[in-house]
Symmetry: C2
Subunit: 249 residues, 2 copies
């Protein structure tokens, strides 16, 4: 993990762009604390760090205010990374079905999402190895964001992830719904009730399938990017309950 | 409104049983504050104050910790109040259908719930008149609890109620679902995902019908009485945002 620079922002958060092999990423750390290393939150997103940067930075600053470090990496096939011909074809097939008002077939969903999950999850785990070796960064670790299929897979297979906030999304392969049943860590699922790009019933069915005894759904009005500010506070409290030993609820 | 006694509890909350005509009730007030009168929360419940007392007291203490007064009154036909022959017959018909595994007809739901709403809502509004005249109690007012049909009607017709936390329930008459569309105050709806006595889809449909631009659904695992403690904190924050001018989020 190569850090090219470090920049202290006006609220004391330090931003460090990095590369992990060919994969670009960011690490944001809160001002140093006397209570030991900062627990880490991996910030999921739908791809293209340049486009997502303002929202990822806002989430990182919000989490830093209660002592969390945040890190993210670019997704395979997105931003500056090489495109995948298979994924581009699947995306075109999906767009064609949606434009024609046809149902999106399970085959297209599998072809779009499963290779992304297969490629991305080992990268996030490798990033986790490197991030936990950075001085001042500690565990336990949380995952927060979309793509929900990546979040479900990470929650199911990565034992260092102790809690997750999952942003509801459609186009979840049936095999990922089956994996969801095996998740046991505490989950908070955020659903935008009027999300133009998501299927509400599919999101509720996935919530129902998720395995843990402690799972909570927060549904709010509005579209895909309209998550209200109080949900940022709710995510902080959720992670504080589960990642900070003896921390405030 | 006649107060029979006042008792200071160990956390400084003052409990005052009262009667409003023939209707018994309770008022719980937080320790006096220098910031003026305590905003009032009306605590809804399914009836029978004796049975509900421990849970109502726990909710009142939790709300008092952030400065809210809480009041409740007995429902028509419950606890020490005279039974209604119509309601008892409707309840028996409902129980018979549920025991036989038959669907509960709209006609039985209307016969059970509509007279209760018609009788209870004017009583809660009269209680509100009397409570807001008690020194140290102020507006704006919140409603928190079930019966959800009573909460919807109050939220739709009582202008002094500025925000409500509604506990999801089944057996909501179609005419109440129509009234829900006219509600404009901010709402937080709590749904127990595995509630043995509620129909989940009916609860989601009612949430969808509710009118306000700001409405949030919190769904948690577990049965009817298993609402997790962190939802008490969430309700406090929701009411603090909407009832306390310049209050903390």
């Amino acid at each position: 993990m190569d850090f090219s620079s470090a920049q202290r922002l006006d609220d004391g958060v330090v931003e460090r762009p990095f590369t992990l092999g060919e994969i670009p990423g960011f690490l944001w750390t809160p001002p140093p604390s006397r209570t030991g290393p900062a627990p880490l939150i991996l910030a999921g997103h739908p791809g293209d760090l340049n486009r997502m940067y303002p929202r990822l930075l806002a989430r990182a600053r919000h989490a830093a205010a209660v002592g969390f470090a945040t890190a993210t990496i670019e997704l395979p096939g997105a931003g500056v990374r090489p495109r995948s011909a298979v994924a581009e074809q699947a995306r075109a097939d999906l767009r064609r079905a949606v434009t024609a008002g046809e149902p999106v077939s399970d085959e297209v969903v599998d072809r779009l999402v499963l290779p992304l999950v297969e490629a991305a999850v080992p990268e996030w785990r490798a990033a986790l190895d490197a991030l936990l070796a950075v001085p001042g960064i500690g565990g336990p670790v949380g995952y927060s964001g979309g793509v929900i299929s990546i979040g479900v897979r990470l929650a199911a297979v990565e034992p260092r992830i102790a809690a997750a906030v999952l942003f509801a999304g459609s186009y979840v392969p049936a095999s990922i719904v089956e994996e969801a049943r095996r998740v046991t860590i505490p989950l908070l699922v955020l659903l935008q009730w009027d999300d133009e790009s998501n299927d509400r019933q599919m999101a509720l069915d996935l919530f129902d399938a998720l395995g843990p005894a402690e799972k909570t759904l927060h549904a709010n009005m509005g579209g895909h990017t309209g998550v209200p500010a109080h949900e940022g506070d709710a995510a902080n409290r959720f992670f504080s309950r589960h990642l900070m030993t003896g921390g405030a609820r």
